[in-house]
């Protein structure tokens, strides 16, 4: 009992690495992009109390002694979504010992023990070198997304806050990751049809009562885990080809899953169907090359076309080290026809909605976590930088390993110039 009690106590406390204590404050005179019903408010105030947004409006009254941050008209946005980015699950991509995002089985999919119970978020390290690098540029949360490796089911992931706390998982965001299309097909025996065949088998096992005979794909824990997703759980299908997109949507519906398309290079081709089925798409709007035969329809118009058709979109480059570039994805989508507000939503409110976090994150509205970023100028512009970042009301120190390297070498360079 004692060790268990200790664990409970640890889980209850908020342990943080790198953030100072929350303090109540009011940001005054900002251009507040609420990404909520209020839209954009000029010369507005945001009152933060106990790590949450207490009020948004003009000329807000604040209790005496509340610290004031003068925004001087600068843009204030919700903290940004880093994408399906494994911040805290990897350090150096080429160094296998630093990677925790992928369960590699080293066997063909039909010979594997499938492991839907694998939960990558258990490996999350809030002290990863990648976390401050992303955080000081306004990325306040991300979705840990197990890659499928040599499997079809990659396992489960969850959203995490990046304020440095150890218990970083955001409740209700848990999702299952399934990789279909030509990548998964190789592991399934060389045909994507076999991906469905094997998935059906796994689903049958998850639903079965009693022991499964020989050749089972799932352990008992795996059957339990998968069964949860068959009861309305969120499943991210990593697919790009239009035919695969429609196939996984119909497959998910048939099996009680709530599908999300990740990738979706050709999603614009089936935009109407996705809108009708209310299936969101998490895409990289910069993908415009036919990188393989699943991406023949890749185009820079993808985001704009999906939005126009009424599909909910969010952006992700999948790049953990450069999760900070989500703003650049959004800005380019605007250059290619997406309304500016929709582009900001695609890196704030939309992913929060997709991952079941709309009550707590993604907007500047009363009751939301005070994940806020004050920008030097237009937040979607590449020449704009974050001037201040708060996560759950705590100001983030704008330091990372990279700024330390910069500061070590900059003086030397300046001193050495002859003029």
């Amino acid at each position: 009992m004692k060790p268990l009690l200790l664990i409970c106590a640890l889980a209850g406390a908020v342990f943080t690495a790198g953030a100072v204590a929350a303090q109540d404050f009011v940001i005054r005179g900002a251009t507040v992009h609420t990404v909520a019903a209020q839209g954009t408010l000029k010369n507005a105030d945001v009152l933060v109390h106990g790590g949450l947004i207490a009020a948004v409006g003009t000329a807000l009254a604040a209790p005496a002694g509340t610290a004031v941050v003068e925004a001087k008209g600068r843009a204030l946005t919700p903290g940004l979504f880093g994408g399906l980015a494994n911040l805290g699950l990897e350090e150096v991509s080429e160094e296998a010992v630093t990677l925790d995002s992928t369960l590699n089985q080293k066997a063909p999919a039909w010979q594997q023990q499938w492991r839907p119970e694998f939960d990558a978020s258990l490996a999350f390290n809030p002290r990863s070198t990648l976390v401050p690098v992303a955080r000081i540029e306004g990325v306040t949360w991300t979705m840990l997304a197990p890659s499928s490796g040599d499997s079809i089911i990659g396992g489960q992931g969850a959203a995490v806050t990046l304020d440095g706390r150890y218990d970083a998982t955001l409740r209700g965001s848990g999702s299952l990751f399934v990789s279909m299309g030509s990548a998964g097909a190789q592991s399934a025996g060389g045909t994507r049809a076999a991906e469905y065949m094997l998935l059906e088998q796994a689903i049958r096992e998850a639903r079965a009562q009693g022991p499964i005979g020989e050749g089972a794909l799932l352990h008992a824990a795996g059957r339990e885990a998968l069964a949860r997703y068959l009861a309305g759980g969120r499943v991210l299908f990593q697919v790009d080809r239009a035919a695969d997109i429609l196939a996984v949507v119909s497959f998910a519906r048939r099996n009680g899953m709530k599908p999300v398309i990740a990738g979706g290079s050709e999603a614009w081709v089936v935009a109407k169907e996705l809108a009708r089925a209310e299936v969101p798409v998490i895409l990289d709007p910069l993908k415009d090359l036919p990188s393989d035969f699943d991406h023949l329809g890749a185009t820079l118009d993808n985001a704009a076309r999906l939005h126009r058709a009424g599909v909910r979109i969010a952006f992700s480059s999948g790049d953990s080290h450069n999760a900070r570039l989500v703003r650049q994805l959004a800005g380019n989508a605007v250059a290619h026809g997406l309304p500016w507000e929709a582009a900001l939503a695609a890196i704030t409110a939309a992913p929060a909605d997709i991952f079941g976090l709309s009550a707590a994150r993604g907007r500047i509205a009363a009751g939301q976590a005070a994940d806020l970023v004050l920008w030097s100028a237009d937040p979607l512009e590449v020449t704009t930088l974050a001037d201040q970042v708060w996560i759950s009301g705590r100001p983030i120190e704008l330091r990372s390993r990279q700024t330390e390297l910069r500061d070590r070498y900059i003086d030397k360079i300046k001193a050495n110039r002859a003029y």
Binding site: D288, D292, V382, T383, Q402, K414
Partner: protein
Amino acid sequence: MVIRSSPRTALGLRLALFVSAALSITAGLAAEPFPSTYQVPANAPVLIQGAILLTGAGARIDGTDILIQDGRIKAVGPALQAPAGARIVAAHGRWVTPGLIDIHSHLGVYASPGMKGLDDGNEATNPNTANVWAEHSIWPQDPGFETALEGGVTTLQILPGSANLIGGRSVVVKNVAAVTYQAMKFPGAAYGVKMACGENPKRVYGDNHQAPSTRMGNVAGYRQAFADAQDYQQQWDKYRHDLAEYNKKKADPAGAGKKAKDKDGGADKDQPPTPPKRDLKLETLAEVLQGNIRVHIHCYRSDEMATMLDVADEFGFKIAAFHHAVEAYKIADRLAQRGVCAAMWADWWGFKMEAFDGIQENLPMVDYPEHSCAVVHSDSEDGIQRLNQEAAKAMAHGARIGLTVPPERAIRWLTLNPAKSLGLDARIGTVEAGKAADLVIWNGNPFSVYALAQQVFIDGAVVFDRDHPADKPRSDFLLGLPNEGAPL
């Protein structure tokens, strides 16, 4: 520079004015192989009016006209007269820059789609493949060329990959739609050789229990290769000397009757000397030693760049540029003093140990010393489409630490500086009278995420016009594919 036999056209003659002749090692044996067939297209003069011009030479000129004639910039200045038949392009409030130059591209050799059948970028069968030429792997139908063009890229250096210590020859191409690479090949451009430091060669061969498996193994590999090239060079020097002697004797009838042996007791002076057997690997490296082939080295870490500078000194060659120079900021002064360009990304880091110290201020920090040569490169079919944004991000991070780089200077990272590293700065890289008319008209400040290239010119010809999508280059591969919907 290596001069390949150009067609005897006006173009070929004109080029002779620009390239200084140096004989390649096997000169005289045969014409330079794989000659460029690119021709400057005939076009009516073009007068661009009222633009905000970043010349690439460091100046910003607001409200200027630019006159293009016979493929060249004829004049830059206010209120220029349009010659008869000139096409007028109203560019009031629009920005004009030189065409962008990417010195690190694998378009065509690692083409889209990334199929096994098109995987032609790394001859990873030997740590030294100085004998291979990237141009022989280029698939001109790579759709990446046209997306790069839409990003304003007019000139590219296509390199072999970095699996090998010495990966082979690079080639400079113009970003023009063509059925053969020869029709893209930049006439008169020097070849480059691709070398690689660090993790890639030692991983590729070390994993195979073969040398090199360490960084010291890497350096031993470069040194032995150049030592062999020196020896090869001497064999050819000797041959040339003997041949000259023989020719002199033949031309001197007085000495014709005498039998004589040379000092080695070797060749009969009455017989012409036998040329050494050509070795394509050593030939490339000997050309490097002669200064005819430019050296481009994939090298992330500052300490390894310093080692390579010493290797270059040992064998007497010059390094044109370090590529992927993630740590160049640690030795910015030294690179500037040595006149070596550093080609960089804006923010890539951490994908391997040698990229762990990447910082976003690398470009402005490397740019800061006098005589510096900071270059933005892509190494990516995606990044090459937005080189201007890479520069913009670096500018913002520089400004935050007091290294303010104005647009007229930052544009050099994408134009004049890469042209310098290719030895082509007398011909491209700036919008100045006499230069090739490679330029981009942007619909806004090019250092904005919202800016798009509106029109792109190569040698005075419009090769991309955003207002006329039907006319844009389109790879054969994309024909009949469902990759365009109805207009938005």
